[in-house]
């Protein structure tokens, strides 16, 4: 049994592609747009990236920023990382007691906190798992390097990304959870 000819459907399909083409070349509505000079740069849904840039959405997973003061060298992020791309080294330091006459405290100091973005797969588990609000997502994405070794960001570089972290957006009305604040 030969297939039935589906000519009206085929013509409709060609109409769709032709319509999209005219909509791109002459953006706008109505028949008047054909009188204007063609301006596909306006009609296209894309932007010409290096010349013009679109702001990434605020929750985009561009790069991970580190708030060094909040880090306690607990290693949760390094251990939960599926790629093992976080390298942490730290040491214990003696700190003066909180109250006079108290016992001397022991605090952890961060020596090294590197994320190797050549390995990172942007899963965000480290950001999720951090109990001390030391890791944040930033939407910045333009940090490609000609040398792959330069993709290893140390704690100074990760700290610089903190400035680009946007404030958390408000939850929808009625949400019980309190909106967290980004430490500045």
């Amino acid at each position: 049994m030969p297939p039935k000819p589906k000519v009206p459907g085929l013509l409709k399909g060609m109409g769709v592609t032709f319509g999209e083409m005219t909509k791109t070349i002459w953006p706008g509505e109505g028949a008047k747009r054909f009188l204007q000079p063609p301006s596909p740069a306006k009609g296209a849904a894309t932007v010409q990236y290096p010349h013009e840039k679109e702001a990434p959405p605020p929750r985009a997973r561009g790069v991970i920023a580190l708030k060094e003061d909040n880090c306690t060298v607990c290693m949760l992020c390094a251990r939960s990382c599926p790629d093992w791309c976080i390298y942490i080294e730290g040491h214990k330091e003696k700190a003066p007691p909180r109250r006079p006459g108290g016992k001397e405290r022991t605090v952890s100091a961060l020596d090294r906190f590197d994320i190797d973005y050549a390995l990172c797969m942007y899963c965000g588990i480290c950001v999720e798992v951090c109990p001390f609000e030391a890791l944040f997502w930033s939407p910045e994405f333009e940090y490609s390097e000609p040398r792959i070794a330069d993709l290893l960001h140390d704690k100074e570089r990760l700290g610089e990304w903190m400035e680009t972290v946007p404030d958390f957006e408000a939850y929808e009305a009625g949400s019980a959870a309190k909106v967290k604040k980004v430490p500045r």
Partner: protein, 348 residues
């Protein structure tokens, strides 16, 4: 392209040189225009994007950049491949395109072979040599994808060769000649029910033949919806899989140059070729040796646009659907078309 077009007598070698340059221009110019205008730009606009914009104004030099890129690449021959056949195949595909253009007239004297009596027969015969090139490429690559792609291509080319030839026969019956210049002048001098203001382009009287011819061309070129031989989601790129560098470029040129060649043949058979209706102008005047190629190019662009418009609109046929369309739909319709054309030709 006779020596006396411009009233200058040329030596034989000069004329041969001119012809060689002419056929290169005739093959590469439409192919390049097709690629830039349709493959780069038209499809981009259909997908709401801009396409190449960086190389030259509006990306018009992109094709040169692509050619430069391919020329730099290494020409790899697989270890187990049949080296001679593997290297020969792309040249075979490209040379068939050059041969097709030989019989197509571009003006009253602008033909490569003047007064070619078996013209359209020769075109159809030569164009099917490319099936051999494709089959060679598929077989000699020593690669399963290439082999399957080559076999699919051979099956498809053979299946669609038949409706194409049968569609042409309608035109030949109506024109009463196999000579392509004769077909052009038959259309230019013809009349529709006594009205000769438009001549008689066979697009009107052979509309069914035209539709079948264009569908068959689409399949011969392996353009979507008939791109089963290079179905990239299942066969990598079919018979081209193992090719790189210059030889890949030759297949690429072959694909779009033969799109141009078939557009030229279709324009000659159905749209009146290089001529305008003879009621408009004196077609024998020398000016048509210059105007003719331009008119021809315009018609080729319209038909090429149609080919790529269809290519970028429809999804791919399955292999069995593709064969079924050729053998159970197109061939019976084209046979009926021949029958009706013959009856009408005898009756009037």
């Amino acid at each position: 392209m006779s020596a006396s077009i411009l009233g200058i007598e040329l030596a034989y070698w000069q004329e041969t040189l001119l012809r060689s340059l002419g056929i290169l221009a005739v093959v590469l110019l439409p192919a390049g225009t097709f690629v830039y205008l349709f493959l780069f730009k038209m499809v981009s606009f259909m997908q709401s994007r801009l396409g190449p914009m960086e190389a030259g104004p509006f990306g018009s030099m992109q094709l040169l950049a692509e050619v430069g890129k391919f020329l730099q690449k290494e020409d790899i021959v697989p270890e187990r491949a049949d080296r001679k056949l593997f290297k020969l195949a792309p040249y075979l595909v490209v040379s068939t395109v050059l041969l097709v253009y030989l019989a197509v007239p571009f003006g009253p004297q602008m033909t490569f072979v003047t007064n070619f009596n078996g013209g359209i027969f020769y075109v159809l015969a030569v164009s099917s040599i490319s099936a051999l090139g494709v089959l060679l490429a598929g077989w000699s690559s020593a690669n399963k994808y290439s082999l399957i792609g080559g076999l699919r291509a051979a099956g498809q080319l053979i299946a669609y060769e038949l409706p194409m030839v049968l569609a042409v026969i309608g035109v030949v019956i109506q024109a009463g000649t196999l000579n392509m210049s004769g077909i052009v002048s038959a259309q230019a001098n013809g009349s529709i029910f006594g009205f000769d203001g438009l001549g008689n382009p066979y697009f009107f009287t052979q509309i069914i033949g035209f539709a079948i011819f264009m569908i068959a061309v689409q399949a011969e070129l392996g353009q979507t919806p008939f791109d089963m031989p290079i179905a990239e989601s299942e066969l990598v790129t079919g018979y081209i899989t193992e090719y790189s560098g210059l030889r890949f470029l030759l297949f690429f040129i072959g694909e779009f140059a033969s799109a141009g060649a078939f557009a030229a043949v279709a324009a000659t058979l159905f749209l009146g070729g290089w001529a305008v209706p003879s009621a408009w102008a004196d077609l024998d005047s020398a000016i048509f040796n210059l105007l003719g190629p331009l008119i021809m190019l315009t018609k080729m662009m319209i038909l090429g646009g149609l080919i790529f418009f269809i290519r970028f609109t429809f999804p791919r046929f399955r292999e069995d659907q593709l064969q079924r369309l050729a053998w159970t739909v197109l061939i019976p319709i084209s046979l009926a078309n021949i029958l009706v054309t013959t009856i009408l030709k005898v009756a009037f």
